[in-house]
């Protein structure tokens, strides 16, 4: 029999949770070694479409080992509540971020034209604008350019109004997108009323209780 004295010599903790007791965990050891630096995954940024024809809007990042897993995490994290008709995912390092300005200075007004035109053939870039600090970036549209920097300048020509304070540029090819065939992913949630606030109506019970105690 193989024994593990280092574990056996430690007292297992006793919990009110039977699942924890079944695990027979060793006692807490505060001298645990630190996690290795950056052993976590790459980061991806997630955009979410709340309903058909609504613009895709930034909802937050996920950590994942590749973009397929990033998509799965994104679906769980950002679309398990309320409605969703689509998700886009991009690697954080694939997003060009303009400088941040403020409401007094629209970012398009301070953009500088790239000194050199982009090299190579033109391709599609997706443009996301932040209208106001503290809000979320929203998809403004697509431009064609030969580099992300050039795409930023083309966005100025295409979308300069209304004003915004920051712009993200992503090569269209670098976005993993759900398609028409993926929409059934979100069709299963309609009957899950137990996780919606509207499904809990307590006033009837309270009023019945009060009427009973007063009579």
């Amino acid at each position: 029999m193989i024994s593990t004295p280092s574990l056996l010599n430690q007292m297992a903790l006793t919990s009110l949770d039977p699942r924890i007791n079944r695990l027979q965990l060793p006692d807490y050891d505060p001298n645990t070694p630190p996690k290795p630096a950056l052993d976590q995954f790459e980061t991806f940024e997630v955009f979410h479409q709340k309903k058909e024809k609504a613009p895709f809007t930034y909802v937050g990042p996920v950590h994942a080992p590749n973009e397929e897993v990033a998509f799965l995490f994104a679906k769980e994290q950002y679309s398990r509540r309320s409605t969703c008709t689509g998700i886009w995912v991009a690697r954080t390092r694939h997003i060009l971020v303009s400088l941040y300005t403020d409401e007094l200075t629209p970012v398009y007004e301070v953009l500088e034209k790239p000194r050199q035109p982009g090299q190579g053939p033109e391709e599609a870039f997706e443009i996301f604008e932040l209208k106001k600090r503290g809000k979320a970036h929203t998809h403004a549209g697509t431009v064609r350019a030969a580099s992300p920097e050039e795409a930023l300048w083309r966005a100025k020509e295409a979308f300069a109004k209304p004003a915004c304070v920051n712009i993200w540029v992503v090569r269209a090819q670098d976005l993993l997108r759900t398609g028409e065939e993926d929409k059934d992913l979100w069709r299963s949630t309609a009957e899950k009323k137990y996780r919606e606030a509207a499904d809990y109506r307590v006033m009837d019970k309270i009023n019945t209780f009060k009427a009973g105690t007063q009579s």
């Binding site: 903790l13 699942r19 807490y28 645990t32 937050g60 080992p65 769980e76 994290q77 009060k210």
Partner: protein, 328 residues
């Protein structure tokens, strides 16, 4: 859930004097105008440090706070309540993910935060160092601890740091389900059989002192609040939030015929609630590791880290890229 009663660090002497006065003035003017600070903006070191501390504590509270309620998933009465309890616990862990990401934008990696949690260097909300011995305890947490958290989070959602505000906006939407679910569960017990009423009353008696501690020490014992409120890191004082909570929830508790274990609890004519101060020495003792569940909570996190390491390593071996700080 679960942010509340954050413990802030004392500013270092002359720390602000070392900052660039022009940039500091621009930073403060931006906040004064009601604009948010975004990750790439210049910010004083103290602002960055206190925000990391606050958001990290909040994130830890979400994942540790899932443990006492997770305890009751398998024993929740009925399939529907099991599903709802599971959905709630899933939300809490999801909130942890949102908040860790917001803290990462300030420059602290997730690994550092998890290491600091497991080694006890970083704190989490003190209420989760108390046990949930019955189903009614879990319901009291779902209703009243979440209610306290919503008071705190709605205030902080109006704060100055963009990524934290965005995360809180999302969290608060999901919290509305938790609050209703918890209230419904407590009402079910309170309007049920004498045994059910007794169970929920006893749970309320157990949880009332930790609930009163949830918002942190009284203002007269809290230091460093002024600069944090000026920078909109902290949006309301501990006492203000406690008063708001009492005003909103004590009447709802009393209308169920339940009592609270504080003979001095009453609302004065001026609208201010009087109450007996909880045992702040106990608060300090528990937050420093000597609570009934501190060791268990951290042992479970420690085991999860250790037992999940091989999964992370296996996935990482197929990873195509390296970590980059999230954008917003």
């Amino acid at each position: 859930m679960y942010g509340g009663g954050n413990i802030f660090e004392a500013p270092r002497p002359d720390e602000l004097a070392a900052e660039d006065p022009v940039r500091l003035a621009e930073f403060e003017a931006r906040i004064e105008r009601g604009e948010k600070i975004e990750p790439n903006d210049w910010m004083p070191a103290l602002y960055r440090r206190q925000l990391i501390r606050m958001i990290e504590q909040h994130a830890h509270s979400e994942i540790i706070g899932a443990l006492p309620e997770g305890t009751w998933i398998t024993r929740a009465p009925g399939f529907r309540r099991k599903l709802a309890q599971m959905a709630k616990v899933q939300d809490e862990v999801g909130h942890g993910q949102l908040l860790y990401s917001a803290a990462e934008t300030l420059g602290k990696t997730r690994e550092q935060m998890l290491t600091d949690l497991i080694t006890g260097k970083s704190k989490y909300s003190n209420v989760f160092n108390y046990p949930a011995p019955t189903w009614a305890d879990s319901n009291i947490i779902s209703w009243l601890i979440d209610a306290g958290a919503i008071v705190n989070q709605l205030a902080n959602a109006k704060g100055s740091y963009g990524p934290y505000c965005r995360a809180l906006e999302r969290i608060c939407v999901e919290e509305s389900f938790h609050l209703k679910y918890g209230h419904d569960a407590v009402v079910h017990l309170a309007t049920g059989s004498p045994r059910q009423r007794q169970m929920v009353q006893e749970a309320l008696n157990r949880w009332w002192p930790p609930i009163m501690m949830f918002f942190g020490p009284p203002d007269k014992l809290s230091v460093h609040t002024e600069i944090l409120m000026k920078w909109k890191v902290k949006m309301a004082t501990n006492d203000d939030m406690r008063q708001q909570f009492l005003d909103m929830y004590v009447p709802k508790i009393w209308e169920l015929g339940l009592t609270l274990p504080d003979p001095n609890l009453r609302k004065n004519d001026d609208g201010v609630w009087e109450y007996t101060e909880p045992d702040w020495a106990e608060f300090k003792r528990v937050i420093n590791g000597d609570g009934p569940c501190n060791a268990e909570r951290l042992a479970v996190r420690q085991a999860a880290e250790e037992q999940g390491a091989w999964v992370r390593e296996a996935l990482q071996s197929r990873s195509q890229g390296t970590y980059v700080k999230p954008l917003a």
